[in-house]
């Protein structure tokens, strides 16, 4: 079951967003997140929301996927919303017994939840429209300048790729090991905290051992195919900034400026 869910949940498509260089998307996402933290005004955030909705529309990704991304943080959002609604001083709008809801509280709650939503939505749209391997390519290229200080850029990128490749395999293996140990009568994940931690040993140790063996086998296989680090290595995939990227970045800068303007003026 888990095998069918691709990591990062890439949703194939041919929109402009899909075709954009991953570096463009990474830069945009990070910058956008920074902007989201700068702006406090509800109108600015609404403008940002409109922008994000437009991006979803252009990329052909259904908005329900944006909502789906919220699931993990739903409780946090509800908690902070309630907190902000009821405990902010200001113009009281509603009284429910001892508790009161203020206008300021309402606006603050809206600002906080909207910001969280937009942070998640913008990260999601990046992973929905970019394959994991293209993302790692983009990160590797962006980290390029770090080579000057002898930072192992290529090795990091290779590690990320191999990790991505093996996560589904390791999930399958964990499942197999759990089944085998359960068949022996092992109780995995039950008991008090200490017992539960200990109960995972029969799964973790075999998993670690097999992972080390995998790493060893893989290293030998890579060497057999003449791998020797980044020395003399080329890549089948080349990232090139196209006119599309320039256009997208240009529009993006204008929109961010607009959002910031709204923030300072309203």
């Amino acid at each position: 079951m888990i095998r069918n869910i691709t990591l990062g949940q890439y949703l194939p498509g041919t929109s402009a967003i899909h075709r954009a260089d991953p570096r463009t998307k990474i830069i945009m996402t990070i910058s956008f997140m920074v902007v989201l933290f700068i702006v406090n005004s509800i109108w600015a955030l609404i403008a940002a929301l409109v922008f994000v909705a437009a991006v979803f529309l252009i990329s052909g990704i259904s908005f329900k996927y944006a909502i789906r991304g919220m699931k993990p943080v739903l409780y946090i959002i509800i908690f902070t919303t309630v907190l902000n609604m009821f405990f902010t001083d200001g113009n009281v709008l509603l009284r429910l017994g001892p508790a009161r809801i203020t206008e300021e509280g309402l606006i603050l709650a809206a600002v906080v939840s909207l910001r969280v939503f937009l942070l998640i939505a913008s990260a999601s749209i990046m992973t929905y429209t970019t394959t994991p391997i293209t993302l790692t390519d983009g990160i590797e290229k962006l980290m390029g300048p770090l080579k000057v200080i002898k930072f192992p850029v290529h090795e990091m990128a290779m590690m990320m790729t191999i990790a991505l490749r093996f996560i589904p395999t390791l999930i399958d293996e964990t499942d197999k090991i759990m089944k085998a140990q359960a068949a022996r009568g092992a109780d995995i994940g039950t008991g008090n905290l200490l017992q539960r931690a200990r109960s995972f040993i029969p799964v973790l140790i075999p998993l670690f051992v097999s992972s080390f063996r995998r790493a060893d086998d893989l290293a030998v296989a890579m060497e057999s195919r003449c791998y020797r680090g980044s020395e003399g290595r080329t890549s089948m995939r080349i990232l090139k900034f196209k006119g599309l990227d320039v256009a997208i970045l240009g529009i993006f800068i204008i929109i961010c400026a607009g959002i910031l303007l709204v923030h300072y003026l309203i």
Partner: protein, 270 residues
Amino acid sequence: MKGTPFEKKALDNVSMELKKGEFAALIGHTGSGKSTLVQHLNGLLKQDEGQLNVAGLETKGRDLKELRKKVGIVFQYPEHQLFEETVYKDIEFGLLKQNIPDEERRKRILDTAAIMEISESMLHKSPYEISGGQKRRAAIAGILVLEPEILVLDEPAAGLDPSGTRELFDIVTSLYREKKITVILVSHSMELVGDYASRIIVMNKGRIEHDGTPSEVFGMGNKLEEIGLGVPQITKLMARLNEYYPEIARDVYTIEDAQRIIGGILRRGR
């Protein structure tokens, strides 16, 4: 996995009965439902519909500990589940959950080790110090020590060379004969199945295609090939010879039987 987009009938209207003390084989192409069926036997998977009664216990809603004492499943490459500091401790692992006095527990472990031809010195070694074949025997011992009434072996000889395979199956057959346990062998090797099983259940796309004696099942040569299975090489030979000499039976599946039949014909010709 009902109700999800990945819903697929892994098992479709499967009905069968297995008698105590049988040595049955479960064969089928990859994805035919063999593993799924087997995992229901000890409650690792629960059926959506229907009933399953194993060794007198209903599997649904049942205390799984009881069930797993009766049904021992040895999965493929069982040596991958070894984790304790010593072979002794690893074999002991499954027994610790049961309330057995120390002395009896120790006796069981030593007896099982003897059956699986694990020496005293090996018991004190770390599972990571011993050879692949030894690891496998240690892993199987870890299941046998629970004294299951039903033993399921999923490709027990996977990765073993011919002599290793023979040694393993010698142990399994003597175990089967002495302790009278019911054995279910899941395997792709038709030669192994032909040599050891007295009953063969054939699965195809989640259904039971056929259930019968080796003669019956291997006699259906072409049908088996259609569903992605084979027959022992000796059976293919006899089927080919049968085209020229109708008196040669098609449902022969051991070298001994083939030798007897062909030997008989050659002697008569002289």
